[in-house]
C-alpha cells in the first residue's frame, strides 16, 4: 500500500476518451464517483470497479483504478469474488436497469441478501440504450419503445423495493441532474459497511429523453421530490413549507412543522417500503436520499472470520496434512 495522500477527483480520470452521447446523464455520475473516491481516504490502487454490459458499463474504462468490464448481468457475481478474495479492496459495481435488474436480477438480489461489502450504483434510465431503445424492467407500462410499438405490457420493477425485499442493508436514490445531492448519497454509500444499493435516475438523452423530468427539472424538483435525511423532518416544497407525516403504514402531507422525523435505521424495512410506495401516487412527492441504512455482518468479513476460526481450531494445514490423512497404510 502506498503512503496515503490526499487524492483529487482528477486523479481518477483515466487516459481514455469518454464516449457517451453528448448530454448523457452518465457524465455527471462519473464526476460524482471520482469526487467521492478521492475523499474516501482509500489508496487509489485499492479501488476495483466491475461492470456488466450496457452504456453505463463502459464506466471502468474511464476510471484510473483497477477495473473489469465483464459480461451482461454478471458484475455483482464477479465483484463478490473480488471482494471475498481480498476484503481490503473497495469494490464498486456499475450497472443499469437492464444489466442489473433484468439479465442480472438474480445476482443482484443474492449479493444484497449476502450483504457483500460493495457499492452498487444502478443507472436507471428506464430503457435499453446500447441496443438502441427497447423497453427495460423499469420502463413504465404502456410506454412505446422499439419492441413495444403498441405500448409495453410489462409491469415494471421499483428498484428500491426490489433491493429492500432482497434484504439490502443500504438503499438510496439520487439523480444525475443534482450533483450536490448525488455526492451526499454516494458518500453515505461509500461509508456504509455492507452492500450499498444506489439507484441513480439517469437521463438517456437519445432513447428516453425526459423520463424523469416531471420530478427532476429544477422548476418542479422541490415540489415533486422529498429528500430524506436521517434524523431530520421530512420537508419538501419550493418554500420548504410542506412535510410528510407517517404512522409507519400511511403517509400524509402536512405542514413542515408537523412533519415526522425520518429514520433509515429502523429495524424493519417496512417504513422504507411504505415510503417507496409514494412513487405510485401522482399526488405525492417521490422519495430521494437514503431510505435504508442498517448494520449486518458482511459476507466477506464472515468468510475470513470462518477461515480464521477453522484454522485456529484445526491448525494451519500443510500439503502433507492434506494428503497423508489418518487412514493411510504402508506397503513395505
Amino acid at each position: 500500500m502506498s503512503e496515503l495522500q490526499q487524492l483529487k477527483a482528477k486523479d481518477f480520470k483515466s487516459d481514455q476518451e469518454v464516449r457517451w452521447c453528448p448530454g448523457c446523464g452518465d457524465y455527471s455520475i462519473l464526476s460524482g464517483v471520482q469526487a467521492t473516491m478521492a475523499d474516501m481516504g482509500v489508496p487509489q490502487e485499492n479501488f476495483v470497479i466491475v461492470s456488466g454490459i450496457g452504456c453505463s458499463s463502459r464506466f471502468p474504462y474511464y476510471m484510473e483504478t483497477y477495473g473489469m468490464h465483464s459480461i451482461h448481468g454478471r458484475a455483482n457475481a464477479i465483484a463478490t469474488g473480488v471482494k471475498v478474495a481480498n476484503p481490503d479492496l473497495s469494490v464498486w459495481v456499475i450497472t443499469g436497469d437492464g444489466d442489473g435488474l433484468s439479465i442480472g436480477g438474480n445476482h443482484m438480489i443474492h449479493s444484497l441478501r449476502r450483504n457483500v461489502d460493495m457499492k452498487i450504483i444502478l443507472f436507471n434510465n428506464e430503457i435499453y440504450g446500447l441496443t438502441k431503445g427497447q423497453y427495460s424492467p423499469t420502463t413504465p407500462m404502456g410506454q412505446r419503445t422499439k419492441t413495444s410499438p403498441y405500448g409495453s405490457l410489462d409491469a415494471p420493477f421499483n428498484p428500491i423495493q426490489l433491493a429492500l425485499g432482497a434484504g439490502a442493508t443500504f438503499v438510496a436514490r439520487t439523480m444525475d441532474v443534482n450533483p450536490k445531492h448525488m455526492k451526499t448519497v454516494l458518500r453515505a454509500a461509500a461509508e456504509h459497511k455492507g452492500a450499498a444499493f444506489v439507484e441513480v435516475w439517469q437521463n438517456c438523452v437519445i432513447f428516453n429523453d425526459g423520463a424523469f423530468k416531471s420530478w427532476t427539472e429544477k422548476a418542479v424538483r422541490d415540489e415533486e421530490t422529498v429528500n430524506l435525511v436521517a434524523g431530520e423532518k421530512m420537508i419538501f416544497g419550493k418554500d420548504q413549507d410542506k412535510g410528510l407525516k407517517t404512522d409507519g403504514c400511511k403517509i400524509e402531507i402536512c405542514s413542515a412543522e408537523d412533519a415526522s422525523v425520518w429514520d433509515p435505521t429502523h429495524e424493519s424495512p417496512g417504513p422504507a417500503f411504505v415510503m417507496s410506495q409514494l412513487d405510485n401516487d401522482p399526488n405525492m412527492p417521490r422519495p430521494m436520499g437514503v431510505l435504508r441504512s442498517v448494520s449486518r455482518p458482511t459476507l466477506d468479513q464472515q468468510v475470513w472470520d470462518q477461515v480464521g476460526a477453522v484454522t485456529g481450531t484445526k491448525g494451519e494445514g500443510s500439503l502433507k496434512d492434506l494428503l497423508y490423512t489418518k487412514d493411510v497404510w504402508e506397503v513395505k
Partner: protein, 602 residues
C-alpha cells in the same frame, strides 16, 4: 474377485459397499469400485427404478476396472435381484434376502411369479436367507423401534460377506463408533448386526466356499490411502493452488455428480481455501473469475448442464486471460439426461462450446487417483499460461474408489506465480516467452488497469476495434494454447511397439481398455493402448505413434467425439469409432471382443 451389492435405494447399499471397500483396502488388496444408483433420492420403494448398486473388484494383482461380471451378488429385494442377476457369472453366488419377497414385494418389482422358485435362477448358487428376520432376532434385546432395527439389515448383510471373504470387522466397528458418536445406541445396534451376520456365516457355513484374497504381492512400496475421484479432485485443486504459491477459491453450485468436490473443499478452510456456494452456475464461475482477478486461483466445479451455463463466462476468462480451473464431472446427457450415470459426451462441448475463437486447454483424468495429478496439472497450465483450463472427469471416476500411492511431498514440483509489481513500462498485455500475459493484482500501486470482454489492443491493453489488432490477438491466444505442447510429455503406447492395432482412449475408459489390450497382447496379438490425458492441445509425437499401427480404434462413452477430433487433426489416418452410450462403463470383455473383430476385418 468381483462382488455386487444391490438393494432398494433406502437399503444403504452404497454405504455397505463403501465399508467393504475401505476394509478391503486396509487388508492390502488392489481394488476398483463402481457405484450405480438412481437419480431419485427415494424412488418408490421396492420398484426397479429404485434399485441402487455398488460393485467392487479386488485382487492381489493390479486392477484397472471394477470388474466385468460379479461372482457374488447380494440382492436385498426382488427388484434388485431381477435387474442384476443376469450380470452374475454362471455358477456365481447369489445371496438373497427372502424377507423381502412377499407377494406385494414381487408386485412392486413388476413380477408375476417368484424368481426364487420359478427356475429363473437355475445355474447360480442361491443362498436364501431371511435377513430381515435374522436382523430383528439379533437386535431383540435392543431398545430401538422396529423400523430402526430393520434399518440395520445392511450391516447384518455386510457381516455375512465379511465372513465369506475373511475380512476383519474392526475397521467398520471403528467407523460406526465415530459415525454415531452422538447416537451410541445406533452404533451399538449396527455393530451387533454386523457381528451377528458374521457369526451366522461362520455357524452355518452358508456358502460352499470361503475366500481369502491375499495382499497384492508386487505393489510398489510406499504410503497408500483409499481415494474416490471427487475427493482426489478436491485435494488436487488445493494442492495445485499451493504449488502455484496461491490460495484456492472455489465458486460453485451443487450439481450431480460434481457436488462432492464443493462439499469436500468446504471442509478445507484451514488450507487457505475459500468456497462460495453461489446462486447459480454462472455466479459460480463469475466469482471464480473475480477471485482470480484479485490474485487467488479461481476454480469452479460442475457437470455438463452447468458447463453449458458457464460458457459465456468461460469466454470472458479466455479474453481477459485470467487463470481459472473449470471441472466438468460428466454424466449422461443431453439436457438433464442421466444425472447419476456415466458418459464422456462433453468432450466437444469442452473443446468448442464458446462463442468466438476461444481456445481452452482440455485435460481428462482416467482414474480416481489420477484425478489428483490432473487437478495439479490443470492448476499448472492455468497459472503458467494465464488461461482457463477445462478438466474433465466423469461419474465413474467421481464415485469410484481405488488405493492411491501417495506422492512424496518433496517430489511435487512447485510452479510459483510471479505477480507484476514494477510500474516501469507496465502493460497488462505484455507477455512472457510462453505468451502468458502479466498478472497484476488490485492493491498493487501504480499498476491500475482495466480488463474486460471487449477486444484489447495487443500493446496498451485499451479497447481496440482495429481489424489487424483483432487478427493478431486471436492468433496470440491460439498460439499461447498450442504452445502448451512444449510442456507436456508424449504419451507412450502400452503393449506392442508397433503392429496390427492401436487403441486410443481417454478419461475413464482407460482401465477397461488397458485390461482388454493386455489380455489380447498376452494372446500374441500386436496390439497397444495409448492413453491421452491432454486432449487439447494434443501432445507432440502422436503422428509418429499412429504410423506404427495398421488400424486405430477409439472406444468412447459417446458417439465418437475424440475420434472426430483426431480425424480432423490427423487426416492421414483412419480412426474407427467404438461407441457405448448406455450410462455404464465399458467392460474389458466387450472391448476385447470388439478389438478381435476389428483385427479380423479385411
Amino acid at each position: 474377485m468381483t462382488i455386487r451389492f444391490a438393494g432398494d435405494s433406502g437399503d444403504g447399499m452404497q454405504l455397505t459397499g463403501m465399508q467393504f471397500t475401505a476394509t478391503t483396502a486396509t487388508v492390502g488388496n488392489d481394488l476398483a469400485t463402481f457405484p450405480d444408483f438412481p437419480a431419485e433420492i427415494r424412488a418408490p420403494a421396492g420398484t426397479r427404478a429404485g434399485v441402487s448398486g455398488y460393485q467392487i473388484h479386488f485382487s492381489s494383482r493390479d486392477i484397472y476396472t471394477p470388474g466385468d461380471d460379479p461372482s457374488v451378488l447380494v440382492a436385498m429385494n426382488p427388484a434388485a435381484l431381477i435387474t442384476n442377476y443376469k450380470d452374475l457369472k454362471p455358477g456365481g453366488i447369489l445371496l438373497v434376502n427372502t424377507g423381502a419377497f412377499t407377494e406385494s414385494d414381487l408386485k412392486k418389482a413388476g413380477l408375476d411369479s417368484n424368481p426364487l422358485t420359478d427356475g429363473t435362477l437355475s445355474g447360480y448358487r442361491v443362498v436364501k436367507e431371511d435377513i430381515n428376520q435374522r436382523t430383528m432376532e439379533a437386535l431383540a434385546d435392543t431398545e430401538l423401534s422396529k423400523k430402526d432395527k430393520l434399518r440395520c439389515k445392511n450391516f447384518y448383510t455386510l457381516g455375512m460377506v465379511y465372513w465369506l471373504y475373511s475380512r476383519p470387522l474392526e475397521p467398520t466397528m471403528e467407523w460406526l463408533k465415530e459415525k454415531f458418536a452422538k447416537k451410541p445406541e445406533l452404533a451399538e445396534a449396527n455393530t451387533k448386526a454386523l457381528k451377528a451376520g458374521y457369526n451366522h456365516g461362520e455357524l452355518l457355513r452358508l456358502f460352499q466356499g470361503h475366500y481369502e484374497v491375499p495382499k497384492v504381492e508386487n505393489a510398489p512400496k510406499g504410503t497408500y490411502r483409499n481415494i474416490m475421484g471427487n475427493e482426489a479432485l478436491a485435494i488436487g485443486l488445493v494442492a495445485g493452488a499451493r504449488l502455484a504459491g496461491l490460495k484456492a477459491f472455489l465458486g460453485s453450485y451443487p450439481i450431480t455428480p460434481a457436488t462432492d468436490i464443493l462439499q469436500h473443499m468446504s471442509l478445507l478452510k484451514n488450507y487457505d481455501v475459500i468456497t462460495c456456494q453461489m446462486e447459480d452456475e454462472i455466479a459460480g464461475i463469475c466469482t471464480a473469475i473475480g477471485a482470480s482477478f484479485a490474485g487467488r486461483l479461481g476454480m469452479t466445479t460442475t457437470s455438463g448442464p452447468g458447463l453449458a451455463l458457464k460458457t459465456e463466462a468461460a469466454g470472458l476468462a479466455v479474453i481477459t486471460e485470467l487463470p481459472l480451473v473449470i471441472v466438468d464431472v460428466q454424466r449422461g446427457g443431453p439436457s438433464t439426461g442421466l444425472p447419476t450415470k456415466v458418459e464422456q459426451s462433453d468432450l466437444l462441448q469442452a473443446m468448442f462450446g464458446r462463442n468466438g475463437e476461444a481456445p481452452i486447454p482440455v485435460i481428462a483424468c482416467a482414474t480416481p487417483s489420477d484425478a489428483f495429478d490432473c487437478a495439479v496439472e490443470a492448476c499448472r497450465i492455468a497459472t503458467q499460461y494465464m488461461t482457463p483450463v477445462l478438466l474433465l472427469s466423469d461419474n465413474y471416476i467421481a464415485n469410484g474408489a481405488e488405493p492411491w500411492k501417495l506422492p512424496v511431498i518433496d517430489e511435487l514440483k512447485p510452479f510459483p506465480v510471479e505477480f507484476a509489481t514494477d510500474p516501469e513500462g507496465f502493460s497488462p498485455y505484455s507477455r512472457d516467452e510462453k505468451l502468458a500475459r502479466n498478472w497484476a493484482k488490485p492493491g498493487t500501486p501504480g499498476l491500475m488497469h482495466r480488463i474486460g470482454g471487449l477486444e484489447k489492443d495487443a500493446v496498451t491493453g485499451n479497447v481496440s476495434y482495429d481489424p489487424e489488432n483483432h487478427m493478431k490477438m486471436t492468433e496470440i491466444r491460439e498460439a499461447k494454447i498450442m504452445g502448451i505442447r512444449d510442456s507436456i510429455p508424449t504419451p507412450q503406447p502400452h503393449g506392442a511397439e508397433s503392429g496390427d492395432l492401436l487403441v486410443v482412449a481417454w478419461g475413464s475408459t482407460m482401465g477397461a481398455t488397458r485390461a482388454a489390450v493386455e489380455r489380447l497382447h498376452k494372446e500374441g496379438v500386436t496390439v497397444a493402448h495409448l492413453h491421452l490425458r491432454h486432449i487439447w492441445p494434443l501432445p507432440q509425437g502422436l503422428d509418429e505413434i499412429f504410423s506404427r499401427y495398421k488400424k486405430i480404434v477409439v472406444p468412447e462413452m459417446n458417439m465418437g467425439q475424440l475420434a472426430r477430433l483426431l480425424q480432423s487433426e490427423y487426416p492421414d489416418y483412419r480412426f474407427k469409432k467404438f461407441s457405448k452410450v448406455m450410462g455404464k462403463p465399458f467392460r474389458a470383455r466387450e472391448l476385447k471382443a470388439h478389438f478381435a473383430e476389428i483385427l479380423e476385418e479385411k
